[in-house]
């Protein structure tokens, strides 16, 4: 499968009053057309920031490192260097929404409260599909129908606060997809929803992705959701991808101690009465990023003198998989 | 990791430990300290208050002492050099009276022949420091043997020293601000506290009343009350009446803030936790609610000062506030109401600089405090 998006060596720094912090560190991943990449990590792991960088949505005090390469192949097959697009350029506006769509965690907050759902949808449709007002409205209603919103022709004139949480997220999906993106970035789209509603929305997203043949980046902290929706997975810890590969393989056979720990810590309804196995220690604050491997402060298998000194590089032990851990790269360690 | 970072490790660790066990006020102070403009404003204001408190000592002359030899005289700037050479100590030239060749009015002109050196802690008019301690020493002045007075900022049409008058006015204006703010604070605390604590019907009624007072334009309201002061009242009575007027109607904004703070803090998780821990209402208020909002209330108090000061100045300026012979910034500025005054005796505007600087200082400090008042806003 051709990669529609490749991100290489992405590092993001923020200038703050307490100095420069680097919440994303040398991140590399790719998305294949028609497949879903799950980006999983706990709060503060930098998963959300990484995807915002793709569309130049970071605040003004953020900067990308010089080695960062982000290449996107658009619907026409043209390769575009995402980091190089000029702010305010037509090309960037076409990419935003028209090529890459984004859904956020809070469906209420991602709508403007003072315009109707229809108004905001029609804006996107007119921008990206070049339709006139009347046609755009028809299309908006069609999209609302498609995401399972009943009585769409009435809903289109409602304000976001008049819909329930689940409906709002459906409407957000309809809004994002109505611009016709080839790649969808979904940033914790189901976290704020109840389980039964989450099931509906996951269902919907999986179906739409398959029907439209979109590529998708699905950000979540829930490995359960990843297992159900992602084809590939990248596990992030403190701004670094520690392990990536096909979702099934990574979950079945995790190689990085953090991935193992994360999987072990998940409570399960299938196994009662087992004692849970937490990952020891606390997540370090982003301002006090540990030296060497970021996980060494909590890793039971950390090698003193190595893991706490030098950061491991990414190695591929099994074809199609990559892991960033000294336990899997003896040669490198000796060389270092 | 570089060597430099290794070296700073221990100090960074110490700093972190210090930060961990820093209380609210320490954190606020640390953050306020970083606000350079506010720190500067605080020192300026500190000086003003000191000058006001020790007005008798700082001012070379009394507020109504006249210098008939120097009427509407220009400011005398102490200098180190004149035609006759330079000196280590500052001095002013003497003055002599001449006739204006055009208008034939008697005017004072500098006499470069005479030098009067400045002295500190000079003997002068006997005064009572803080109204209690009798002394005849003043901060600066000319040798009492010299038959001339020094007027740093000139004199007015009666020959009264503008510098001295401004210092005394500073005391009056700032004290009206302080007392006015205190009165409205106490009222606001009681009224806002009742509204926020009892909520419901009482709250509704109080809200209505507050609303009514808030819609009346404040200066015309003050004017109405000030106009009602009997003409025969003494300056002291007028002074207290003024503070009372400013205080009695200054509370609505503060009361609203206190009420909304109370209402929002009342529903904070940690206050519910205290209630569930079995704390009595008194303890909840004293231990949990008050410490959480005192810093915000202090900010509100600081930023309500300028309104008091400006109101007093405005009222006195149009003749409805303090009346001569009292001196306040507004009273002093009454003499500078016309374009003519700006052209002929611009130094009469010096009190205006005090008004502007004081209001500016309070506002800047208020801003600095506001930024510092919630040291936990960045925490998560």
């Amino acid at each position: 499968m051709p990669k529609m998006l490749t991100v290489e060596n992405l590092s993001i720094s923020f200038r703050t009053s307490e100095g420069v912090i680097t919440p994303v560190h040398d991140v590399t991943f790719g998305v294949e057309a028609g497949r879903t990449l799950g980006l999983v990590g706990e709060s503060g792991s930098g998963k959300s920031i990484s995807t915002k960088a793709l569309m130049q949505l970071l605040p003004g005090n953020a900067s990308l490192s010089g080695e960062t390469r982000m290449t996107y192949t658009d619907k026409a097959g043209k390769e575009i260097a995402l980091g190089r697009l000029k702010t305010g350029s037509k090309e960037l506006r076409r990419i935003r929404g028209g090529e890459i769509g984004m859904i956020f965690q809070e469906p209420m907050a991602s709508f403007s409260p003072v315009y109707t759902i229809g108004n905001q949808m029609m804006e996107a449709i007119m921008l990206h599909r070049g339709l006139k007002k009347r046609a755009a409205r028809e299309y908006a209603i069609e999209m609302l129908n498609k995401v399972g919103i009943s009585n769409a022709s009435a809903r289109v004139d409602q304000y976001p606060h008049e819909l329930s949480g689940g409906m709002r997220q459906r409407a957000m999906i309809a809004l994002t997809l109505s611009a016709g993106p080839a790649l969808l970035i979904a940033d914790e789209p189901t976290t704020a929803l109840d389980v039964t509603i989450q099931a509906q929305v996951l269902d919907l997203m999986r179906d739409l992705q398959r029907d439209l043949g979109m590529g998708m980046i699905f950000i979540t902290h829930d490995l359960g959701v990843i297992a159900q929706i992602a084809d590939d997975v990248a596990v992030m810890y403190l701004g670094t991808i520690v392990e990536r590969g096909p979702a099934r393989d990574v979950i079945r056979n995790p190689q990085h101690p953090y991935t193992q720990g994360l999987l072990d810590a998940i409570p399960s309804v299938e196994h009662l009465h087992d004692r849970l196995k937490p990952v020891p220690g606390d997540i370090p604050s982003p301002t006090a990023r540990p030296t060497g491997c970021p996980f060494h402060t909590r890793c039971a298998q950390a090698i003193a003198g190595t893991c706490d000194v030098t950061a491991p590089t990414e190695v591929s032990t099994i074809p199609g998989r990559a892991v960033r851990c000294w336990l899997h790269s003896d040669k490198d360690r000796n060389a270092a | 990791m570089t060597d430099a970072t290794h070296q700073t490790d221990t100090t960074a660790e110490e700093a972190r430990l210090k930060y961990y066990s820093a209380s609210q006020w320490t954190l606020i102070w640390w953050r306020f300290r970083r606000h350079r403009a506010a720190m500067m404003a605080a020192s300026v204001l500190g000086l003003m208050f000191l000058a006001g408190i020790f007005a008798e000592f700082v001012a070379p002359y009394g507020p109504v002492t006249r210098d008939t030899n120097y009427i509407e005289g220009a400011p005398q700037v102490p200098r180190f050099c004149d035609a006759g050479g330079c000196s280590v100590f500052p001095f002013v030239n003497g003055t002599k009276t001449e006739r204006d060749p055009v208008t034939l009015r008697a005017i004072s002109v500098p006499d470069p022949e005479v030098r009067h050196y400045l002295h500190v802690f000079v003997k002068g008019e006997p005064v009572k420091l803080l109204g209690l301690i009798p002394t005849d020493r003043h901060l600066v002045g000319l040798n009492p043997d010299v038959d001339q007075k020094i007027h740093f900022w000139g004199t007015d049409d009666l020959g009264r020293d503008v510098f001295s008058r401004t210092i005394y006015a500073t005391r009056t204006s700032l004290s009206i601000g302080v007392i006015g703010v205190m009165i409205s604070f106490v009222l606001a605390l009681i009224i806002g506290g009742i509204a926020g604590y009892f909520a419901g019907v009482i709250d509704n009624i109080i809200q209505r009343v507050t609303e009514v007072i808030r819609v009346v334009p404040i200066i015309p309201l003050y004017m109405g009350l000030a106009a009602a002061m009997p003409k025969e009242w003494s300056t002291t009575q007028v002074y207290f009446a003024m503070t009372l007027i400013l205080g009695l109607f200054g509370w609505p904004t503060l009361a609203r803030r206190i009420r909304s703070q109370l209402l929002s803090i009342r529903n904070e998780d940690y206050v519910i936790a205290a209630r569930l821990a079995g704390a009595r209402p008194g303890r909840i208020i004293a231990q949990h609610m008050l410490p959480s909002f005192t810093s915000f209330i202090i900010v509100d108090l600081v930023i309500s000062f300028p309104y008091m000061i400006l109101s007093e100045t405005a009222l006195s300026f149009v003749g409805l506030g303090l009346r001569p012979p009292s001196v306040s910034w507004g009273v002093l500025l009454q003499q500078a109401q016309s374009v003519r005054a700006i052209e002929q005796t611009p130094w009469l505007f010096i009190p205006a600089i005090f008004v502007v600087v004081a209001v500016l200082a309070f506002t800047v400090i208020g801003d600095g405090l506001r930024d510092a008042a919630d040291p936990y806003s960045e925490a998560h």
């Binding site: 569309m55 949505l57 960037l92 506006r93 990419i95 935003r96 929404g97 769509g101 984004m102 956020f104 809070e106 907050a109 991602s110 709508f111 403007s112 409260p113 003072v114 315009y115 804006e123 996107a124 921008l127 990206h128 304000y159 994002t176 611009a179 | 209505r208 009343v209 609303e211 009514v212 007072i213 808030r214 819609v215 009346v216 334009p217 404040i218 200066i219 015309p220 309201l221 004017m223 109405g224 009350l225 106009a227 009602a228 300028p306 100045t313 300026f317 149009v318 003749g319 409805l320 109401q337 374009v339 700006i342 052209e343 505007f349 205006a352 008004v355 502007v356 209001v359 500016l360 506002t363």
Partner: protein, 330 residues
């Protein structure tokens, strides 16, 4: 919307009622009563010896011997039913005559000030928020401080001084000499407009300073909202995005404080009027206070306050129209 409007309307009437009570109390505040002052004013210096009985007669004539509550109802009844504000003793005529067309002049000053305030402060506040932390933003902050700190009467004096230097002496007041006592004509209106800018600038000064900061603060908040990021992620062009999403919400606090702005303007009016020699209600109010002509003062205070209450009502309606969430939450 109708329900909302009616509700606010009822609220407005109640507030006005309470305000009128308060104004009446202020009118009653000065020592002695109207009869005393009337007699003193009318006969002082005339050599006529006024006795207690004379004053008592005046008191009866004017109905001042009635209890306070009744007098309040007489007063407010006269205003509401007949537009009669009572007698202005200082001028030997009715209050309505004294006030006359000053109401319209005041309205002119008020609206030109409001217009100026919003035209200046909204765009600048938005600009400052977008360019947060820039030199321009910093400069505006300093300006805002000055706006708060420089009392309007001082500003008026300074402006008057410079205006005198640059435009000649004919700048204070509301009319040039040739129109002052002329009847209304196109020329007179134009003359008025030429004179209005100075008081408008002086009165708008502090309101602009405050509103810039308000707009800047809310705009900064709005710019960080997820809905703006989401719209940006949909490829909405930046300028359009700015106007459609954050700005629409950032002007809400401005709209909601229209009443306060009017309040501030009326508060400053009497003092600015003294300096600039404006002949409108503020100046009349001050003169009435100094003369203790409480009927005139009360009438003006009532008018000013009612205007503020009414503007609050207007701002409520505007806000409800701007923000669809408000109607539901009412």
């Amino acid at each position: 919307m109708l329900r909302f409007t009616l509700e606010r309307l009822v609220g407005m009437v109640i507030t006005m009622l309470l305000v009128s009570v308060m104004v009446f109390l202020i009118m009653e505040l000065p020592p002695g009563d109207y009869a005393d002052r009337y007699a003193f004013r009318k006969y002082s210096g005339t050599g006529v010896n006024v006795t207690e009985a004379d004053i008592e007669a005046i008191r009866r004539d004017l109905g001042l011997d009635k209890p306070m509550l009744l007098r309040y109802f007489d007063w407010i009844g006269g205003i509401v039913l007949r537009g009669d504000f009572g007698q202005a003793f200082a001028f030997e005529t009715s209050v309505a005559k004294v006030i006359g067309d000053k109401v319209w002049l005041t309205a002119g000053i008020l609206f030109s000030t409001l217009l100026l305030t919003y035209i200046v402060s909204i765009p600048i506040g938005i600009f400052a928020a977008v360019r947060r932390g820039s030199a321009v933003d910093y400069g505006l902050t300093v300006f805002s401080y000055l706006g708060l700190a420089l009392p309007n009467f001082l500003l008026a004096l300074v402006m008057l001084y410079f205006a005198n230097r640059w435009f000649g002496a004919d700048i204070g007041g509301l009319f040039s000499d040739q129109y002052r006592d002329a009847s209304w004509s196109v020329g007179k209106v134009w003359d008025l407009i030429k004179h209005l800018w100075l008081p408008a600038v002086v009165l708008a000064w502090s309101a602009v300073a405050i509103q810039i900061q308000t707009v800047r603060a809310t705009m900064s908040d709005e710019l960080n909202k997820l809905s703006v990021t989401a719209a940006r992620a949909r490829g909405v062009p930046e300028l359009r995005l700015l106007i459609k999403y954050p700005t629409r919400l950032a002007i809400n606090p401005v709209v909601s404080t229209i009443g306060f702005d009017v309040n501030r303007i009326f508060s400053e009016l009497p003092i600015v009027a003294v300096v600039l020699g404006l002949t409108e209600l503020g100046e009349l109010l001050l003169r009435a206070y100094l003369d203790l002509d409480m009927n005139v003062a009360g009438a003006i205070l009532l008018m000013l306050t009612f205007t503020i209450v009414f503007m609050n009502f207007v701002s409520d309606l505007l806000l409800a129209w701007l923000d669809p969430r408000i109607k539901l939450g009412a």
